[in-house]
């Protein structure tokens, strides 16, 4: 049901070799920097930069495209509805019965396009950021970055349970169907599924508890344990400078543009 984001972590590329700590920080900086940007041309430039990063990381675009679907579903209404308005200012373009549709003008279209591109770019950058290291390594990197320990532990456990739960969900559906159950859109279906999901939670909760016990009985005291060790090389810093450099550059460019305007 859920495919893992790190299935391409085994590839080899400059981004895969990049120290996960610097990688996460640099790309996060870039994402925030792009979100603070309100200039269509520079937003498009950022998207190109993101595409280049993805290309270097060798993660297949088809994989990413499948994932972009959800963001696109969210922003689609903005793209469709935003440039138009039913009542209010704008250029009248159509009458449908008693409804009048107005066009808000080219600025609105630009704004809608900017929203969509920003949303897509930010998602695209997630792939080189965490799709290029195994999830447990990324989590260890977060710990090294002094994220609160309890959050790190929750991340690690939740990540594991997502897959357990979705597997269990599949098993449960199997068992329901084998006793003649069929999903329809009625109250019986909702209630039956709710009850079944409730049981699933209880079972998963008890399993989570047992796994936690198992970890404790193997000496776990809240620190992430893998054999992976981090070392910083000049190349890691170089990558960080390039990515953070771009994040700063786009804002400097805006500043210049504004000054020029005056």
């Amino acid at each position: 049901m859920i495919s893992e984001i790190d299935i391409y972590a085994g590839l080899s590329s400059p981004i895969h070799r990049w120290d996960p700590r610097l990688k996460v920080i640099s790309i996060l900086t870039l994402i925030f920097s792009i979100m603070l940007l309100y200039d269509l041309k520079l937003v498009i430039a950022s998207m190109l930069f993101a595409i280049i990063l993805v290309y270097i990381s060798r993660i297949p675009f088809s994989f990413i495209a499948g994932r972009l679907k959800w963001v696109f579903l969210f922003v689609l209404p903005f793209l469709i509805i935003l440039p138009f308005t039913v009542i209010g200012e704008g250029v009248e373009i159509a009458h449908i019965g008693s409804i009048t549709l107005n066009f808000r003008g080219i600025e609105s279209v630009e704004f809608a396009v900017m929203i969509v591109i920003k949303a897509l770019t930010s998602v695209m950058l997630i792939f080189p950021m965490i799709g290029t290291s195994r999830m447990d390594v990324t989590i260890k990197a977060l710990e090294d970055l002094h994220l609160p320990n309890k959050l790190v532990q929750m991340l690690a456990f939740t990540y594991r349970y997502i897959f357990v739960l979705s597997d269990e969900f599949m098993l449960m559906e199997r068992s329901l169907t084998s006793r003649g159950f069929k999903r329809r859109s009625n109250l019986y279906t909702i209630i039956t599924l709710s009850k079944a999901i409730a049981t699933l939670f209880v079972m998963s909760f008890e399993q989570a508890e047992r796994v936690f016990y198992a970890m404790r009985s193997k000496g776990y005291k809240g620190k992430v344990t893998t054999m992976h060790e981090f070392t910083l090389r000049p190349q890691d810093w170089f990558n960080a400078v390039v990515v953070c450099g771009f994040a700063i550059f786009i804002h400097v460019a805006v500043l210049y543009g504004t000054l020029e305007g005056i």
Binding site: L171, M172, R174, S175, L176, T177, S178, R179, G180, F181, K182, K195, A196, A198, T199, L200, V202, M203
Partner: protein
């Protein structure tokens, strides 16, 4: 008309694991058959095909249940014909009260209220859980859970019953009680297919054994299968302990052609042998006794126990 007919069934999991490779067999109505095979042999996978829960393009024509092919779109209609008890009882109990769980199948079959209640009562009685309607399935003990899971399937009164390791994880008493329930079902004429690793239980449950290891390795009467020890040992299976012991008794000169498979069989065998031999049997050590014993034992035990 065969109850279950499987013809050239193949199945591969997403990750490329071949789980079933040209599996074919037929089970007649009223037969009770044990399905054995090593871990990972594809037994559970096969079971899930029988009512269409797992399927592939080709599986549709490969399986016929009561002479009709299995349509994966109509899984919800299969319970009339075949009821499946899963490997893990917890996967089958997900309603707040046991009564609801046992009623679940009959309600989905669209039966009226009285009939549903009758079936719930009957099914719970059958497995020895009469009066447990208002218990929380989740709080039952391991052995009770397994019987409860069986009841949720019995209440659908399907013609055929297929179950995955019904005796695993049970304590000896619960195991014996469960074997008793299965024997009752057999006597009632249900068609049974039982997956198990518990070779000592098979002689009491099934007159026929199918050995699976991706494909069908052997298929025949229980006695014949268990006398083919070479084949069993090769794929990592055992014969019942009683059979092993009688092989050793043979080395001491005990006269028997057909090795018994269970304690019951052993008693019959001993009695008949003695009655056929003037009420006596001599056991003695002869020159081949020791070599016979060690070869009989090596067959089964790579890590043979050295001490008691």
């Amino acid at each position: 008309m065969p109850a279950i007919k499987v013809q050239d069934l193949n199945y591969k999991y997403h990750d490329g694991t071949v789980a079933l490779d040209n599996v074919s067999f037929e089970i007649e109505k009223g037969e009770s058959v044990a399905l054995i095979g090593p871990n990972g042999a594809g037994k559970s996978t096969l079971l899930l095909h029988l009512n269409g829960i797992l399927h592939s393009v080709t599986s549709r024509e490969s399986i016929r249940i009561l002479d009709e092919s299995v349509d994966p779109k109509k899984i919800h209609e299969m319970p009339k014909k075949i009821g499946i008890v899963f490997q893990n009882a917890d996967d089958m109990l997900f309603m707040p009260l046991l009564g609801d769980d046992v009623a679940f199948g009959p309600i989905n079959l669209g039966l009226d209220k009285e009939e549903v209640q009758r079936r719930v009562k009957d099914a719970l009685e059958m497995v020895g859980l009469a009066g447990y309607e208002n218990r929380v399935p989740h709080h039952l003990s391991g052995g009770e859970k397994r019987r409860a899971a069986l009841a949720t399937v019995l209440s659908m009164e399907s013609e055929i019953l297929a179950m995955d390791e019904p005796t695993a994880n049970l304590d000896p008493k619960s195991r014996r009680e469960l074997i008793g329930i299965l024997r009752k079902l057999k006597e009632k004429g249900k068609t049974l297919l039982i997956i198990t690793h518990d070779v000592n239980a098979i002689p009491e449950l099934a007159e026929r054994v199918i050995v699976l290891n991706k494909t069908v390795i052997a298929d025949g009467p229980t006695r014949d299968i268990f006398s083919n020890t070479e084949m069993l040992v090769e794929i990592g299976l055992d014969v019942p302990v009683i059979t092993q012991l009688f092989e050793i008794l043979q080395c001491f000169g005990y006269p028997c052609d057909v090795l018994p498979l269970s304690i019951g069989g052993a008693v019959t065998n001993l009695t008949e042998t003695m009655e056929g031999g003037d009420g006596h049997v001599h056991l003695h050590i002869h020159k081949h006794t020791h070599s016979g014993i060690s070869s009989a034992r090596n067959k089964y035990h790579d890590h043979a126990e050295k001490h008691e």
